[in-house]
Structure formats: structure tokens, C-alpha cells
């Protein structure tokens, strides 16, 4: 390995990247932009659900029931609707996503100690959101029912309402969420976005950078000289790894400063581990670039082989354990899942090498395999 040749290639590559406005944008602006777009756009929290009420009863009890929802931070009251037909229209137009229909005689039935039914219409077009919504409705409804029973018990037994309530719920559930106390989705999302973006950006840059030379013929300068394969690959990829290293810091700062995600682990572990991940994804770009010949093909192939694993098989949206058995196996074969463990561990759990050495080792082996394959398949004397 001759250092002068490596440096010649690396500095040429660096100049081209910096002077080509499109490439420069792709290298330094796009990753940060993705972090902002995904961070604000992909929030999985369900709050402020717009809803309406059809009140056929118009009694104190029915108003009391509706106020439980109106007061909740999870729901946003959009007014009373005249009848079910109006309500259906409101849901259809997207103005509200939930409608509560309170039947006539609701207050009277309750007062008589008989069970009453409330109809809930939920917009089911987005299943996971509908399920969450249904959960909120059920919880508020249960709280209302319990309060009603407690009132009846206190009335009959002479106990205070507080005591009656305590009698009725002998076991109180005390939940404490570890690692993400407020269960804020951005806390879990931002670290995973670092995983997704570092899965997309380095392979894109690498594949385009190498294939660009193939497409316009400047690769022949390399083929026709004594530069060895190793010298070329190191010199060519070094600038891209350097750019990605800058991006690691940039994304980390965005997560910590902008999204206020606590970073509980050690940067001394996180940064080298992330570098291993970047080498791994750069290796994916390298492998794509030796297999295709045009920049368009490079883009499409990179998109397919990085985007899908990064989104579906990484634990970004669906936890790995919830995947089907086939998908579970696929996820084990992709590097994204392992880095998700590392990045979430570093940010939220504050664990380090001791508990994360296994995924790190997998990534390291992955990177070595990809580079070995890229090196082996790259030929200075191809047959086309």
C-alpha cells in the first residue's frame, strides 16, 4: 500500500465532492434534513384526537360523561353533532376521528342502577392509531364507570367516596417506564433515526462516487495505472467515511440539543461503535458499486437494499420481537437491527461495551465481509 497514491486519490475525491454542489448537498445537508423531516413528521404519539358527541339524553349525567373526554389531553372536543348521520359525515370528512353517541335515558338508566350503553364510532382507516384511540376511550369509560359505582357504594354504605373507591380497587397498578420515563416517542425515535440515516447516506455517497467514475470512464485512469485495488478503495472511500463521521456528530448533536433526548451512555463507546456501523454501511455501497454500471442503477439498488432493512427490519417502527418468524430471521441477517441495539442502549439505557459487545462484534464482522467481497469483486481488468 503506497500512501502517496492513496492520498492522491483521496484528495482528488475530496475536491470533487466539495466543488460539486449537488454532491456537497447530498453529503452534508441531506442527512441533517432527513433528521429534521423524520423527527417532526414521524411522531407516533397519539394526542389531541378530534372528537364530537351526539347527545340524545341531554342530562347532567351525559354532560358529565362527555366532560371526561373534553378535559382529557388526548382528545380535542370539536362540538356536539345533531344525530348519527351528521356524525358519520364528520368522520367521513376527516373533521373528527371519534364520535361518542349517548343514548336517550342515559342518566335515568344509570340512576336506576341499570347498565347503559355508549356507542363509539372510531375512524379505523389507520389501524394502529384506531387501536390506541380505542384504548383511550376504554380507559376513560372505565374511570367514569368506576366513579359511578363508587358513588353508589358510598351512598349505600355511608363510606366516603375516596374510601369506596379504594375498596373497589384493592390492587392499584403503579407503572414506571424505564429508560423513557414520559414514554415520549421522540426519545426512542431520534436515536433510531440516526440508525436509519447512517444506513442511507454513506452507501448512497459511496455507490454514486464509485459508479460515477465507471460511468464517465475516469475509472480507466485507475485500471490503466499501477494503483492497487486496495489503494484505490482506501483512497476512494476514506473521504466518504470522513464525511459520515462528521455526520455522526451532527446527528448526535441534533438528537441531544434539538430533540432533547438524554444521552446516558459514553461517547467514547458510542462514537467508535457508530464508526464501525458506518464502515459497514459504506461497505454496502461499495458492494453495490462493483455490481452495477450506471448511477441510476446504483441509486435504485442502494435504495432497495438499505431503505427496506432500515425501516422494516431494524425495530424502527415494529419491534423485532413482534415480527413474524420469517421476518425475524431476515432481521437477524441485516446490520440495522444490531446498531439499533447499540444506539438505543447508548442513548436511553446508558449501557456500554459490557452489554453491547455482541451486536458490535456482529457489525464488525459484517463490515469485514462486505469489504472483502467488494475487494474481491472489484477487478482492474473486468470483462466488460
Amino acid at each position: 500500500m503506497n500512501l502517496q497514491r492513496v492520498l492522491a486519490i483521496a484528495s482528488k475525491e475530496w475536491r470533487e465532492i466539495v466543488r460539486d454542489r449537488l454532491f456537497f448537498t447530498l453529503a452534508f445537508v441531506v442527512p441533517a434534513l432527513l433528521m429534521l423531516l423524520f423527527g417532526y413528521g414521524l411522531s407516533l404519539d397519539v394526542e389531541n384526537i378530534p372528537f364530537a358527541v351526539v347527545d340524545h339524553d341531554r342530562s347532567a349525567a351525559s354532560r358529565d360523561y362527555a366532560y371526561r373526554f373534553i378535559d382529557s389531553r388526548y382528545f380535542q372536543f370539536r362540538g356536539y353533532a345533531g344525530d348519527e348521520r351528521d356524525a358519520a359525515q364528520l368522520i367521513g370528512s376527516g373533521a373528527v376521528r371519534v364520535v361518542l353517541v349517548i343514548p336517550p335515558q342515559f342518566g335515568k338508566t344509570l340512576a336506576q342502577g341499570r347498565p347503559a350503553a355508549i356507542q363509539t364510532l372510531v375512524d379505523g382507516s389507520f389501524p394502529s392509531r384506531a387501536m390506541t384511540t380505542k384504548g383511550y376511550v376504554a380507559a376513560i369509560n372505565a374511570a367514569f364507570s368506576l366513579a359511578a359505582v363508587a358513588q353508589a357504594v358510598s351512598h349505600a354504605s355511608g363510606l366516603s367516596q375516596q374510601e369506596a373507591l379504594a375498596q373497589l380497587t384493592p390492587i392499584a397498578l403503579e407503572s414506571r417506564y424505564l429508560y423513557n420515563q414520559s414514554v415520549s416517542s421522540i426519545w426512542s425515535l431520534a436515536p433510531k433515526l440516526i440508525m436509519v440515516i447512517l444506513m442511507l447516506s454513506p452507501p448512497f455517497l459511496t455507490a454514486l462516487g464509485v459508479v460515477r467514475e465507471k460511468e464517465n470512464g475516469s475509472i480507466f485512469n485507475i485500471y490503466a495505472s499501477n494503483v492497487s485495488r486496495g489503494e484505490f478503495l482506501v483512497g476512494k472511500l476514506a473521504p466518504y467515511v470522513a464525511i459520515s463521521s462528521v455526520n455522526i456528530l451532527l446527528l448526535w448533536l441534533l438528537a441531544v440539543l434539538l430533540y432533547q433526548v438524554p444521552f446516558k451512555g459514553s461517547l467514547l463507546f458510542f462514537l467508535p461503535a457508530t464508526l464501525v456501523y458506518v464502515l459497514c454501511t459504506t461497505g454496502i455501497g461499495l458492494l453495490v458499486s462493483v455490481l452495477v454500471r450506471t448511477q441510476v442503477a446504483a441509486m435504485i439498488v442502494t435504495m432497495v437494499v438499505t431503505m427496506i432493512p432500515a425501516v422494516l427490519y431494524s425495530g424502527l417502527i415494529i419491534p423485532i420481537v413482534s415480527l413474524g418468524s420469517g421476518a425475524h430471521v431476515v432481521a437477524q441477517l441485516m446490520p440495522a437491527m444490531y446498531y439499533t441495539d447499540i444506539v438505543v442502549g447508548c442513548f436511553l439505557k446508558g449501557v456500554g461495551l459490557m452489554s453491547l459487545w455482541r451486536p458490535l462484534a456482529v457489525l464488525a464482522v459484517y463490515a469485514c465481509l462486505l469489504f472483502a467481497a467488494g475487494y474481491q469483486l472489484f477487478s482492474k481488468r473486468p470483462n466488460i
Partner: protein, 644 residues
């Protein structure tokens, strides 16, 4: 050390099922400027890449510097001693890097010691006259400058063998001559061996030896004289009235017959000069023969003659009935440009362009890269509004009736605007649809195009699968689907083999003469410029000459004198002493020199003092000589006397 640098035996290269090169033998010796000549797809690039050790191959053996190239590891052994410049105008250079950075990169890549690299860089930049532009980014250079920079980068590590793949394709004749002069000088001074390919047949005489390639096989090999001997014959150039009748008679006897403006040029395969002349005179009996010259055959004629034996389909049968419309030719104006100008900000792309083209006339627009030809065509076709001046095209005012013009003209570009995934018939139907032809008219035109282009039997073939020549004729057919009265052709023949080019010009000639269509053509092949009735030469956005080819030649002959070819052992070394002796127009031409001078006796004297005894041979001047002489003169003027 052996004198053989490259030795190939039974070399063959295949891409999947497609055979690129087959059974090729090659032997290139030290110090040679060896040429590979052939059209696109002849297998030149494959061979050159294999020689450079950057392409593996399936059949035969290849030795370079005595090293057998049979593996990537063995190929590495020669790479320090070779320089490769791949195909494509400056494609292997880095657009965002300056001239100097490009050269430095190649020097560092090749591990040239710093002091040595700096010295050689200065020397090469001086020879190529690029030193003044050293900080300019490569992407802002003209085509000719890119090629010269490519050459500098290829030579920076002082290789012993350089491999240049079509270094002159897409470069105008002046830059091309410049490039060859520089290359000849470097080869002579540095003892290089060079393997160079070209698609321009007229460049063949610059090589010490060469191979003619066609469809992956070698047609002929040797020095220019040896190749000319392989198809002995003479070129007869005559001016006969009526031209069409003469053409029809001559083409029956000699298929290699073409119209060049008012003249007819044909190849007579007959070793004896008087006999060749007599045969032509006999055939033309009864017609008014105004002029008849018998000239040496050029390499391109020989190439076509050699292919002619193998491939008969090239010439289209000549119809016997002359169209009555041809009598109208020369009356109505088809294109009229009056002081057309186009500015882009401060930059004047086209200054003041005026010319006229009549119905039935073939008009050639010539000029170096960046002279403003494309901008002029874009204004005339209504794509670009002019900043000043006016013009009429096909009877419509170009200032007001851009859309009307577009419906009355046809346009065929260099890129052959065909849909490669559609079949021949589908392409034609598509264009018929675009121009709004009804079903009946469409079917009539479809038949006409298939007849005209000789595409019967290929109706359902995909455009991508057609050979270049046929594809080009299909593109012409598509441009003619709506029967335009005016046709614009922008470098219509680049990359097409000589046979295909001749067949194409045959069609153009009949379109103009029989159907009275006005044709405006741009080309970099100067041999094609001779086909035009009328030429306009553009330089720096202006028309600087506007005349027929014959008039242009005559003008140069009157101003600069007769053209002589000087044969000498080391012709390239004579350039500077001759220029010092006052001969302004001296250009290396293969192993010889071309000199334009009114005083042949003084030339002979000077040559004798330089030790050259063989007298200079007078030659008929070609359009390329005219173009180069004119443009060099203008360049000298604009550099010397303050161009505004």
C-alpha cells in the same frame, strides 16, 4: 530488447453472445504511430482496452512489452509503461478540477517524483499551449482543449506506449490538426510508440502503419501506400449536365458514385489511369461534359471498395424518372437569415448571421466547436428566439410564426432522436402521430419511409437492434414523415461507417434534387462538406465565408497558393525550419507534410537546403485544407489584432 511492442495473435473478444473482435493479428513495433481505423462497433475500443490490460478477453494471445496478458496480475506488470486515454471527449478527466490539478493528480497517481513531474508538466502544457489556462476548471474547456489536456495527463509519467481511443472524435478539423501536430512532435521527440484509433478515414494518412477494422475483423493492414494498393483504382471527378442523368448512367456501372454539389465523384477500379478516364468518357457519351479530372484514390474510397465486395445492399437503386419538381429548384427561398444575432447575457453566441438557402439546395454550415452553429440552427427552427435580426423559414416569419415553422420543417439531430425500445414501424407511427397525420396519410408515408431508407425486412426490429447506418436512415425517415419542405440535419453522420454515410448522402442528394427539399447540414467530416451546393463557414458567431466548395477552394488557392505534399524521412522535424523560412501554411500529414505556397520553386530550394531532394508533389486541395487554412488565419487575426 525486442522491437515488437504489441503482438496479438488470434485475438477475440465477446460480450455475452455478441462478438466484438474476432481472429485478429496485430504487430506494433517500437516508435510507430499505429492506427486502428473503423466505424463505431468495429472493435477498436475492445482491442485497445485489452492491450492496456484493463479488459479481459476470451480468445487468442496478447503480448505487450513481451509480457503475456493473461491475468490481472500479469497485466499489472506493463501498466507503469503505458498511458491510456479512453474514448469520450475529456470523459476520463475530472470536471471540477482545474487543468493543473488534473495533471498533478495523474502525476501523483503514477508516483512521478515531484521535480520531474513539475518540469514535465511545464513542458507539456507549453507544447499544448494550455499553460495560460492552468487554473480553469476542466469542464469549462472547449473540446479541443479537453483532448489536449487528456494527452498531457496520459504523458505525465513518460510512458513508452500510449493508447489513445478516438482522440479526435467530435473535435473540429482545426483542433484535430493541432492535436495531430502535437502528437507527431511528441512521438518524434520522446521516442514513443502510439496506438491510436479514429473513425475519420481522412486521418489515416497520418499513421506510419494501420489496420482497417470492420465488424470485428481486419480488412487490411499496412502503411497508407500498401493499403491503397489493395484496391487499385482511380477517382474520376466530373461536372456533367444534366447531372441527374449522368448520375443514373454512372451508378449502373460503378456503384461507388456520389454527387458532390454540381460535380460527380466516382471510384473506377482500374489500375491504368488513361483506361479509367476512357471508360467514364464512354459512358457519358452524348452528355455535356464540362470538366473531368482523374485523381488518386483516398483511403476512404479503398475502404468502401473493399467493403463493397462483401456488402451490396449499401447503394439504393436510382429511380429512372426525374421529378418535375427538380426544375423548380433554385427558385423559391427556403431559408433566409438576415443579421440574426443571439446574446446570452454579455456573451454573444451568434453575432450577425445572414445567408440564403433555396428549395432543392444542400447547404452546409461549418465551423469549429463553439462557433455558434447549434445556436443558429435553434433560432432557425424556432426553438430559440433571436435577440436581433430576422428570418424566414419555409415561408413563415421566424419572429412571429415559431409554431408554424415547426410544422413545416424536419429536424434530425446527432443523437438520432429515436425511441430505442420501439420497433421501426412503431417509431414511424409515433412521429406520424406527433405531426397529426391521419391513418391513411400515415400508411402512405410509412411505405415511403421503408422504401426510402431500405428498411424492408426490418419493420418489426427494435430500433436498438439496428446497425448505425440503418438507424440513422430511420431517424431521417421520421424527420421526413410530415413531408417538410425544409430539413435541418445536425451532424447526422457522426459514428456511422463510410458505407452508411455514402448511402445516406445518396438519399440526401435525391431528396434535394428530386423532391426539391432544402437541406441545411452541419458536419465535422470535411469530405461531406464537398457534397454541399453551398457552404457557410462560421467563426466566433459570425459567417466569415459564404460560397460553393469550389469557390472556397479557388479562393484559398489564389490567396495562399497551390497545395504541395512534401515527402521526407523526418517530415515532422521540418515544420519549424519551413515556418522560419516564411512558409506560413505547413502541416504534418502522416509521414509527409502539406504546404500551401504560391512559390513552389522557393519551397524546393528551401527543402534542398534542409536535405530533402524529392520534389514536392502538387495535390488537389480538399475542403479540410480550406477549413483549416481559413480558421487558422482567423484565429491568428483575432489573437493578433484586437477583436472587439
Amino acid at each position: 530488447m525486442s522491437d515488437t511492442i504489441i503482438k496479438a495473435s488470434g485475438f477475440g473478444k465477446q460480450y455475452g453472445a455478441q462478438v466484438a473482435v474476432q481472429g485478429l493479428d496485430l504487430d506494433v513495433r517500437r516508435g510507430e504511430l499505429y492506427g486502428l481505423i473503423g466505424p463505431d462497433g468495429a472493435g477498436k475500443s475492445s482491442l485497445m482496452k485489452a492491450v492496456a490490460g484493463v479488459l479481459s478477453f476470451e480468445h487468442g494471445q496478447l503480448e505487450v512489452f513481451g509480457q503475456l496478458l493473461d491475468s490481472e496480475r500479469h497485466a499489472e506488470a506493463i501498466k507503469g509503461r503505458i498511458g491510456l486515454m479512453p474514448q469520450g471527449l475529456g470523459q476520463n478527466l475530472y470536471g471540477d478540477l482545474s487543468i493543473e490539478e488534473n495533471v498533478d493528480f495523474f502525476a501523483r497517481l503514477r508516483l512521478v517524483p515531484r521535480a520531474e513531474a513539475a518540469a514535465r508538466k511545464e513542458q507539456l502544457l507549453a507544447i499544448t499551449r494550455l499553460a495560460a489556462f492552468r487554473h480553469r476548471p476542466m469542464k469549462q474547456l472547449s473540446g479541443g482543449m479537453k483532448q489536449k489536456l487528456g494527452l498531457v495527463c496520459t504523458l505525465i509519467h513518460a510512458p513508452q506506449l500510449i493508447i489513445l481511443d478516438e482522440p479526435t472524435t467530435g473535435v473540429d478539423p482545426v483542433s484535430r490538426r493541432d492535436f495531430w501536430a502535437i502528437l507527431a512532435r511528441l512521438i518524434a521527440e520522446q521516442g514513443l510508440t502510439a496506438l491510436v484509433s479514429t473513425a475519420y478515414m481522412d486521418e489515416a494518412s497520418r499513421f506510419t502503419r494501420m489496420s482497417l477494422l470492420h465488424q470485428g475483423r481486419k480488412l487490411a493492414e499496412g502503411n497508407p501506400a500498401q493499403i491503397l494498393q489493395q484496391a487499385p483504382g482511380w477517382i474520376v471527378q466530373c461536372r456533367v449536365e444534366p447531372q441527374l442523368t449522368a448520375m443514373q448512367r454512372l451508378a449502373v456501372c460503378w456503384p461507388q458514385c456520389e454527387a458532390m454539389g454540381p460535380e460527380i465523384r466516382l471510384f473506377v477500379p482500374e489500375a491504368d489511369q488513361p483506361a479509367a478516364r476512357q471508360q467514364v468518357v464512354d459512358v457519358l457519351q452524348g452528355l455535356e461534359c464540362q470538366q473531368l479530372d482523374v485523381l488518386d484514390a483516398e483511403l476512404e474510397d479503398v475502404f468502401v471498395a473493399m467493403l463493397g465486395g462483401k456488402q451490396n445492399a449499401a447503394t439504393v437503386p436510382v429511380d429512372l424518372l426525374a421529378h418535375t419538381r427538380s426544375e423548380l429548384a433554385g427558385r423559391e427561398l427556403a431559408i433566409e437569415a438576415k443579421g440574426l444575432g443571439k446574446r446570452f447575457g454579455d456573451f454573444v453566441a451568434v453575432g450577425d448571421v445572414s445567408f440564403q438557402v433555396r428549395q432543392g439546395e444542400i447547404f452546409g454550415l461549418l465551423g469549429a466547436n463553439g462557433a455558434g452553429k447549434t445556436t443558429a440552427i435553434k433560432m432557425l427552427t424556432g426553438i430559440l428566439p433571436p435577440s436581433s435580426g430576422s428570418g424566414r423559414v419555409a415561408g413563415a416569419d421566424m419572429q412571429q410564426a415559431g409554431a408554424l415553422i415547426k410544422s413545416r420543417i424536419g429536424y434530425m439531430s446527432q443523437a438520432f432522436s429515436l425511441y430505442l425500445d420501439l420497433s421501426v414501424v412503431e417509431n414511424i407511427r409515433l412521429y406520424a402521430g406527433i405531426y397529426g397525420l391521419d391513418r391513411k396519410a400515415r400508411d402512405v408515408r410509412l411505405q415511403w419511409i421503408l422504401d426510402m431508407a431500405g428498411l424492408h425486412g426490418h419493420e418489426n426490429a427494435l430500433a436498438a437492434a439496428l446497425p448505425m447506418g440503418l438507424r440513422q436512415r430511420l431517424a431521417l425517415g421520421c424527420a421526413l414523415v410530415h413531408q417538410p419542405r425544409v430539413l435541418f440535419l445536425d451532424e447526422p453522420t457522426s459514428g456511422v461507417d463510410p458505407l452508411g454515410r455514402r448511402a445516406f448522402w445518396d438519399i440526401l442528394f435525391r431528396l434535394s434534387r428530386q423532391d426539391g427539399v432544402a437541406l441545411l447540414v452541419t458536419t465535422h467530416y470535411m469530405s461531406e462538406a464537398e457534397h454541399c451546393d453551398h457552404l457557410a463557414l462560421m467563426f466566433a458567431g459570425r459567417v466569415v465565408a459564404d460560397a460553393s466548395p469550389q469557390q472556397m477552394k479557388q479562393q484559398v488557392l489564389t490567396e495562399a497558393g497551390q497545395l504541395y505534399r512534401v515527402y521526407a524521412d523526418h517530415a515532422a522535424a521540418l515544420v519549424s525550419p519551413l515556418q522560419a523560412a516564411g512558409f506560413a501554411n505547413v502541416l504534418p500529414y502522416g509521414s509527409a507534410l502539406h504546404v500551401l505556397t504560391p512559390d513552389v520553386e522557393r519551397l524546393q530550394q528551401v527543402l534542398r537546403t534542409l536535405g530533402v531532394e524529392r520534389p514536392p508533389q502538387p495535390r488537389p486541395i480538399a475542403m479540410e485544407d480550406v477549413f483549416v487554412q481559413r480558421v487558422s488565419q482567423l484565429e491568428a487575426q483575432s489573437q493578433g489584432g484586437g477583436q472587439p
